[in-house]
């Protein structure tokens, strides 16, 4: 009766997700964080089953695919200088810090690198949503925030490919690193050449009227790309990401997005729950002080990095700080990094529970800090007496 039980537990997970998510949207909280909490609670009632594990794997694949599909290649090409310089700035401020923290925690080199990635990457989902909710999309700092996010996401996609390659290889040495880099580069190159040369053919191939066949074809492209990546020792996620990029320039892009979105939303939710379920409950409690420490330190470095990017473009002090504060929330990508590695069963990583605690803190507190950045500016950085009440403060209170 194993099938029935796992189906039932999946059902219970879903209804729990619904209620928790419903409450979360009422108080405007990130769904990612809430789903992880649901998973942490549910682990007391039933274990992760083969079914949920499988759906969670699909969750990563679909998420990366959608991410590739909606990736704005146009703005990357148009603003490449700005994106590159601001992105590198942000990288230099935050990635080495993560490595330093990993070293303090006594991790080995692979774990340290992984941890640096987890600390470094801001959640573009949470930040973009908050920007819209807080009515900041027209603010001067917003463009710079989004530029940094593009760079981060791209960097992390490549980073994910490499780190999973390294983990699958087993250990770090020059030969192994070189091999992984070479494989990753070859895989990327293959997709880039494909999208350049076969653009028209791909456009024709995916132009299928029949709804069912259309979905099956798209799914096959996604899963085949993910499988191919996995076959040569890279992350499945990166295969899906490149498939998304490949299809993002077709005329069917919108239709593909509509068709895959339900799959993605369902499987990603299960992925977060599964991740939450794998966080050791009692162990996580003792990690909270370290989590808070890391959160505070890494938030400072994000705010400072963002502040200097803003200063470079002569934004006002307020705008600079808003820019910095907007980079604090971490979310889906940190979880993906920790989750993908953790699914590799021959390498048990202590990083995972800590990532869980860290992402919960930064997703929840980060979006609050984003809202209240003006309060910080007022109380810590400006002399009192300026009376202008910005709009963001009002809508934040509703």
């Amino acid at each position: 009766m194993i099938v029935n039980e796992s189906v039932l537990s999946l059902g219970i997970s879903l209804i729990a997700l619904f209620f928790a998510g419903f409450l979360a949207t009422k108080v405007n909280q990130s769904l990612t964080a809430v789903f992880i909490v649901v998973g942490m609670i549910l682990q007391n009632f039933f274990p992760v089953t083969i079914i949920t594990e499988f759906i969670a794997t699909l969750g990563i694949i679909f998420m990366l695919f959608m991410f590739g599909l909606e990736f704005s290649v146009g703005s990357l090409v148009n603003n490449q200088r700005k994106i590159f310089f601001n992105g590198v700035y942000d990288l230099l401020f935050n990635f080495p810090l993560g490595m330093f923290l990993g070293w303090i925690l006594g991790y080995d080199l692979i774990q340290t690198l992984l941890f640096a990635g987890i600390i470094y990457v801001t959640s573009s989902v949470i930040v973009a949503k908050s920007i819209i909710d807080l009515k900041r999309s027209a603010n001067p700092e917003t463009e710079y925030i989004l530029n940094i996010l593009i760079f981060e996401d791209m960097f992390i996609a490549a980073f994910l490919a490499c780190i999973v390659g390294v983990v699958n290889y087993g250990h770090i040495d020059t030969k192994g690193m070189l091999l992984v880099m070479l494989k990753t580069a070859a895989f990327f190159l293959f997709f880039i050449i494909l999208s350049r040369t076969a653009k028209k053919i791909i456009d024709k191939v995916v132009d299928i009227e029949h709804t069912e066949l259309f979905i099956i074809l798209i799914l096959s492209i996604i899963v085949l790309s993910a499988g191919a990546a996995s076959q040569i020792g890279l992350s499945e996620a990166i295969g899906a990401f490149l498939a998304g990029l490949l299809l993002s320039e077709t005329r069917q892009r919108h239709r593909i997005s509509e068709a895959i979105k339900p799959f993605q939303q369902f499987s990603t939710a299960i992925f977060f729950v599964t991740f939450g379920m794998s966080i050791d409950y009692k162990h996580a409690g003792s990690l909270i002080p370290i989590g808070i420490f890391i959160f505070v330190v890494s938030s400072f470095s994000k705010v400072f990095g963002g502040y200097f990017v803003g200063k470079k473009y002569a934004l006002s002090k307020r705008a600079c700080l808003r820019l910095g504060f907007s980079l604090i929330p971490r979310g889906e990508f940190s979880i993906i990094l920790a989750g993908t590695i953790a699914m590799n069963t021959n390498v048990p990583y202590p990083v995972k529970s800590l990532t869980g605690v860290y992402v919960l803190l930064s997703a929840i507190l980060g979006s609050i800090l984003m809202k209240e950045s003006d309060w910080f500016v007022k109380n810590f950085f400006e002399s009192k007496g300026k009376e202008f009440q910005p709009l963001g403060r009002h809508s934040a209170k509703d």
């Binding site: 999309s137 027209a138 963001g392």
Partner: protein, 169 residues
């Protein structure tokens, strides 16, 4: 004409910035969802003083109004100038009207009053520059043009009771 700056907001949509003569800035953000937001930034301030959110349909209506498709004050002025000494009248033909069921040529309107019939509106159809053989029917609306005196003359000659409000006023 002011320059409109266009920039991409990846993951959100597109942003258009218009610097006004007053120094204030008007920013329109078109979200990928079709929703539009209009922000106003007071001079030298980097936080919006107001924001208006419009659905796709609402934005189109406002757009039409702003572009002058609904109402154009400047052109109205020009029309008054050229029409200084001439008037157009919309006249509904009653069944008992002296004009009803008569050919235009047999009414001899131009010779008697100086007024010309420019258009006959019959139900859904419009007959511009009607032929002199055209018969005016009850329930038609005719549009006539002439000097103010000529129009007065026309109205008294044919005992018109049903003058329509001029659309333009």
């Amino acid at each position: 004409m002011s320059e409109i700056k266009e920039s991409e907001l990846p993951g959100i949509g597109k942003k258009f910035t218009l610097e006004l003569d007053s120094g204030d800035k008007l920013v329109v953000v078109i979200h990928s969802s079709g929703e539009r937001e209009v922000f106003k930034f007071i001079k030298d301030n980097d936080e919006p003083a107001s924001v208006t959110t419009l659905a796709d349909e609402e934005a189109r209506q406002i757009g039409a109004i702003l572009s002058g498709t609904y109402f154009q004050p400047v052109i109205e002025e020009a029309q008054k100038l050229t029409m200084k000494n001439a008037t157009m009248e919309w006249i509904k033909i009653a069944p008992d009207s002296a004009l009803a069921n008569k050919r235009i040529e047999e009414l001899d309107i131009r010779k008697k009053t100086g007024v010309s019939i420019t258009t006959i509106i019959r139900g859904e159809s419009v007959i511009p520059n009607p032929h002199s053989g055209e018969i005016i029917k009850p329930q038609d609306t005719i549009i006539i043009i002439g000097g103010n005196d000529q129009i007065k003359n026309f109205i008294s000659t044919f005992e018109i009771k049903h003058r329509l409000e001029n659309d333009r006023q």
